[in-house]
Each structure stands twice: as C-alpha cells, then as structure tokens.
Symmetry: C2
Subunit: 219 residues, 2 copies
DNA sequence: TATTCTACCTAACGTATGTTAGGTATTAGA
DNA sequence: TCTAATACCTAACATACGTTAGGTAGAATA
C-alpha cells in the first residue's frame, strides 16, 4: 500500500517560474516566513475545525497567529487558497496515517485486521492527531465548489485505500451478510466521521471505539 | 412508544397574551398569513439543507418565497428564530416518523425488527421526506449556541427513543460482541446522518440501505 | 362609508467581511 | 555602507449581511 506524496508539496512542486512571488516556494522553504506561514495554517486548521469555514474570519485567524488580516495575503492569495492548503493537508495526513497503520501490520494479517487498523488510524487522526483532518471533514461541505473540485483528486485517492480494504474484506467473506462493499465503506466512514459531533474523552480512546465498530462490520 | 407533541405547537401554545403581535398564534392560524409563513419555512428548510445556515441569507429566503428580506420580520423575530422553527420541526418530524414506524410493527416484533424499522424511518425522513430534518442535521453544529441550547430538549427526547431501542437490542443479545449500546447508538446515527454527504438515487432506496446497516449492527 | 388591521414594501443603518493599495521597519546581500 | 528584498502594517474599499423604521395598498370591521 503506498502513499508517496508529501504533505506540503514543496519538494515536488518547486516553482517553475522564477518570478513566482510565493516566498515559500522559492528556495525550498529556508526563509523565516515559513514559520509564520505554518503558524497561520495551524491556527486556521484549529478555527476551521472548531467553528467551520464560513464562521471563521481572516481577522480571527490573523489575531491568533499574531498578524493583521491583510498580512495573510503575503502568504496566501485568498481565504479560499488558505483553506485549500489546510484541507489538502488534512486529507493527506489521514491518508498517510491509515496507509502507515495498515502497512505496519504483520504481513500475514488478514483483511479484517487490516480494516481494523485503518479504522483506528482514521479515527485517531480525526479526533486526536490532526486539526487539519477534522477541519477537512467539517468544512468540506461548506467550502466553495471550486475548492471542492480542487480537492476531489486527493479525496479519491484516499477513498481508493478504503475501496481496496473493503474489496479484500468482501472477497474473504468478512462483511455482514447482504452488505455490499460500497455501503460498508460509506457507512463505516460516516460512523467514524460523525464522531466529530459527539466525541469527548468520556467515550474512551479512539482505538477502542474503532475496535467496537470493527465488530459490527466484520464477522 | 409515544410522541404526543404537535409539530407547530400552535394547539398547545395559544397565546396567553392578547397583545401578542404574532399573527399566527392569535386565532389558531386561520389567517391568510399562515400560508406565507409556511412558504417561508419550506423555503428556509430547503436552503438550509442545500447550503447551510451561515451560507443562507434572509434575502435568499425572501426571494424564493416571493418576499423582501425585511418582510420576513413580520413572521419571525430574527433569522435565529426562523432557524429555530425549522430545526425544531425537523427533529419533531423524524421523531414522529420513527415512533410511528416502530409502533406500526406487529406487537410481537423483536428488538432487531424494531431497530430496523427505526433505521429505515430515520433514513427515509432524512433523505426523502423532510428538508426540515436534513436541515436540522446539517445546520445544528453551525447554528448559534443559544439556539442549540433551545433545541437540546427536543433532541434529548428523540435520543431517548434510540436509547430505548438499543437497550432492548442489547438485552436480547442482538448487538455485536463487545459493542455497548452507547457506541452502537452513536455509530448507527452517525452512519445514517452522514448519508446526507453522499446519498443519491444510484445508491438504492433508503429502506434497502437501512436493511444493510441493520445487518451490521445486529446478529 | 369611515376606520382599523393585515401583510407586506422601501430604504436605510450599522456592522462584518474578503480584499487591496501603499507604506515601513528589519534583514541580507553587494 | 548602500541597496534591495522580506515580512509585515495601516487604512481603506466594496460588498453583503441581519435588522429596523416608516410607509402603504387592500381587506376586514364598525
């Protein structure tokens, strides 16, 4: 199982145009502004996760990042492009976490174990590890359509991981009777993603919840 | 299983104050404005469902309802109160649909059958029957906190239905091994509610999808 | 017929938003 | 040391929003 792409895209995406005004894309990211840019991304992810896309203003983000709203335009061309970066990082991160979790299993692990590892990694990333991933899950439906279109490739690639996992589970007869892999995938990811609406520490650790969900969708 | 309350609250909520300027609450709703008010609610539910709360302006709602934005204030005190009515209707409607579906079963029906009927009714209401319910599900996390507090009672009452269904399922040993009823309830409703993000007619009818989910969560 | 009420409309207010133009202190390089 | 680029800031612009004050045609009432 593979997930080669880097999160920021800097290494494979060095500017082909020497006049490109994007400071972070010019010299591999050695400039001071990279820290500021990262701070902006972190703050934006946190606020997008907590409040939503439309409910978060650039002034909010700027204030928490120690900048004025207008200064954000030194690092990003628009609110939409800032959100694009946040949401893109979010899907890359959960993608890589899930692939890593599955790949770290014993090579003899069966389809059920692999599915369980994927569930746990997705939930862990969503709830604990990454504001970027939770921001993606929460904000995607509310973001401008042009941005959604931009993200569709990354989302499809992540979706392919789940298609493969559920294909294997179906082939090995591990899914509940009468449940096709499409429905299983949509319901599993729905059950996991919706946890953003209710999860708190009283519900136990994500890994434990994932085990419980695995019990439902495999036999 | 009971669900006594009416959707609009008009019958139990006749104005106690004769000076109350709300035209619909004065004489049981026989005025012409009731149709207009209902039209506003219908349009608002549709737009809240399709775009979200913050992304829907009063001018949008007014335009589609054949009114100017300011005229909405003849019927509702604020955008928040309009949303309150829409979301309140939404939860009442799915509550009643689920209770009706469960009650319409043969009295000898077991816990699994009752749970399946509830799933089907919830999904059918969410996806097909009511823009109010889907508006509630989509908008609740983005609505002002005061409004969320207002709705918490209705939501708890609906939640109680599911608690009862899952308590019966757990008692009869129908849940997957190692899955407590709390997790089951949260995951089931999550899987169902998230379908708003992906459902279209190519996925078959809601009742069929509900059967498939029931297969996962019961044995 | 005169009056009052209903169900709107017009027009504006204040605020918040994303965004931009132009300026500036600090740093890096020649 | 002079120059130029960096990483911001200030101030404003245009637009959109929820909301309100005041007006008005038509229906209902007396």
């Amino acid at each position: 199982m593979r997930c080669d792409e880097t999160e920021t895209g800097l290494t494979q995406n060095v500017s082909l145009d020497p006049l490109n005004p994007d400071p972070a894309a010019r010299d591999g990211g050695a400039k001071r502004s990279v820290a500021s840019r990262q701070q902006i991304l972190d703050v934006a992810a946190k606020l997008f996760r907590a409040r939503g896309y439309t409910e978060t203003s650039l002034r909010d983000i700027g204030k928490r990042a120690g900048l004025k709203a207008g200064s954000l335009y030194y690092h990003f061309a628009s609110k939409e492009e800032l959100a694009a970066e946040v949401l893109r990082i979010g899907v890359k991160r959960v993608h890589r976490a899930v692939v890593a979790a599955v790949d770290s299993l014993d090579p003899t692990a069966d389809a059920k174990a692999r599915l369980g590892a994927a569930m746990a990694a997705h939930l862990e990333t969503l709830l604990d590890a990454s504001d970027f991933t939770s921001a993606h899950i929460r904000c995607f439906p509310h973001v401008p359509e042009t941005l959604r279109a931009q993200l569709s490739n990354d989302r499809r690639e992540y979706e392919a991981v789940w298609r493969s996992l559920l294909d294997a589970a179906a082939t090995s007869g591990a899914l509940p009777p009468g449940m096709d892999q499409n429905a299983a995938r949509l319901f599993i990811l729905g059950a996991l993603n919706w946890s953003l609406e209710w999860y708190d520490v009283t519900h136990g650790r994500p890994a434990q919840l994932a085990r419980s969900l695995l019990a439902a969708f495999t036999r």
